[in-house]
Amino acid sequence: MVPYSTKELMACWLSRDLADREYAAVGANFPIPRAAVLLAHLAHGPNMKVGMGAFNVNLQGVDHVMSLRYFSDFWPVQWAESASFFPLDLLSIHKLDVFFVSGIQIDVYGNTNLIGIGDKQKGFKFRGPGSIGTATLATLARRYYIVTEHHSPRLFVEKCDKISAMGFGDGTPGLRQKLGLPGAGPKYCITPLCVFDFSPTTRKMRLGSLHPGVGLNQVINNTGFKIDIPEEIGETRPPTSAELEILRNRIDREGLLR
């Protein structure tokens, strides 16, 4: 088997959950989801609609795709078949199938925080960069994934100080429907150690699989909340050599994931 990095594992695993014809958006400065979407597109999704910055691109036949320096880069224009119509497209973003969210805090119910840390009603101990588009996109996209390059008790907390993108709130059954949120919410949370899914009854994060070589205690010790652990724990399926070939030669020549 070809050796691979944890980030490559994460990208390959995510890519398999994306289907052909889906509409998925890729931002800048979020290399794992970017690689996942492009890998899905090049490996099995020739009809995917891929949002790259403010363009919709199709990359069939493109030898290799450099990564965005910034979200508003102009150069993807060369592969663009359309550009986002503002405000029309942002206001009709519920047609987005797949979105990705991160946070400076992630809690047991899949809520994420990009706003800031601190208990006060106003003011912050640590101010985050802001919600960007996540408050709405996590609501409206048909499903989303929480992706983080870190796994620590400070990141994975019982309850976010502030919620910028609501996952399952306080776990009340049917809360998303009650709040009128059309999207299904977070499907998986993937970290450098493991994959979490969400219990359909409690809506809490549940251990889905451990990455190869990761021990259960490593996850428990690095998570700030009590994890729902099933009887049998699977292993995250590693990248295939075919996946790695596309990933390394066409998507990540710069080696951001290595």
Partner: protein, 295 residues
């Protein structure tokens, strides 16, 4: 009686912006901010601005905060992605509560602009329900829709005095066209009472008429400002000046930690001393500028 040109100079354009006004800035994260005018605002020490940074800001609002111009800020993000993850002055002002934040995400900001542009008191959205945005921003109000009783968030309109945007080109009569993405600039123009646009090039009206479908809006004031978005990008012309952004962020970072020596140098060299935008470009230098040309 002849048709009148709306091309003006920086000073006249900046005289439109007065203390306490609500000013909406165009562009998106690291692209197409009207830095020529934003530096002019900072240089003139205009105070108490209520800034709307749509779609999302980079560090242009951070600079305005650092120069003491901002009383209230509506934005979904302040930073320059991997280069500068968060604006230093913004971070400190938010933590110290020295500016009011109109907390939102990008789509809620667009909903506000859309309500304002349409002349309706609010725009209803689903996004933001269940988050802390309505707790942090008292202007957002949960309500029940009058037809189906569905829960929704009402995003109120906001009176915007002046929009400040940067574009690729305009003719002498204010017809503005972009070479690349237009982001929320078309909406921002329609939400504002008055629009000032800096442009890379002034073109004849015949150029505009080649493709009138490309005209995004007709601005009230046009200011000729080549490299007017520097250190940010302008589609079809130049990319970001990362080195400059890092220098800014470093100076700002130190200043928020009590050492303002680098910030004083930055401010002096790039904001206070240059008479105008052309003087600023001299500070950056021709070699640097043309090294940024895209493609």
């Amino acid at each position: 009686m002849d048709r009148q040109s709306v091309i003006t100079d920086e000073a006249t354009a900046l005289a439109q912006i007065r203390d306490g006004m609500t000013v909406a800035l165009g562009g998106f994260i690291t692209a197409q901010h009207s830095m020529a005018l934003i530096r002019g605002i900072a240089k003139r020490g205009i105070k108490g601005l209520r800034v709307v940074a749509g779609l999302s800001s980079a560090l242009e609002v951070d600079l305005l905060i650092g120069c003491g111009c901002v009383q209230r800020l509506a934005t979904a993000y302040v930073g320059a992605e991997a280069t500068v993850p968060i604006g230093p002055f913004f971070k400190k002002a938010a933590e110290d509560q020295t500016i009011d934040l109109w907390e939102c995400d990008e789509i809620i900001l667009m909903a506000m602009l859309q309500a304002t542009a349409a002349g309706i008191p609010f725009f209803p959205v689903r996004g933001g329900m269940g988050t802390d945005l309505p707790h942090l921003n008292k202007d957002l109000k949960e309500f029940r829709d009058p037809i189906h009783n569905d829960p929704l968030l009402a995003v109120p309109a906001m009176k915007i005095d002046v929009a400040v945007t940067h574009a690729y080109c305009a003719d002498p009569y204010g017809n503005v066209q972009y070479a690349g993405n237009t982001f929320a600039d078309g909406l921002i123009h329609r939400a504002a009472e008055k629009t000032i646009t800096t442009v890379e090039k002034v073109v004849p009206t015949a150029y505009i008429r080649r493709d009138p479908f490309k005209t995004l809006y007709t601005a009230d004031f046009i200011v000729r400002s080549p490299f007017g978005a520097h250190p940010y990008s302008c589609h079809g012309e130049y990319i970001e000046d990362d080195e400059h952004l890092k220098g800014y962020a470093n100076a700002a970072n130190l200043a928020t930690k009590g050492d303002d020596s680098a910030w004083k140098v930055y401010r002096n060299q790039f904001i206070d001393t240059p008479e105008d935008h052309m003087d600023y470009l001299e500070q950056i230098g021709v070699k640097k500028l043309f090294s940024l040309n895209e493609f």
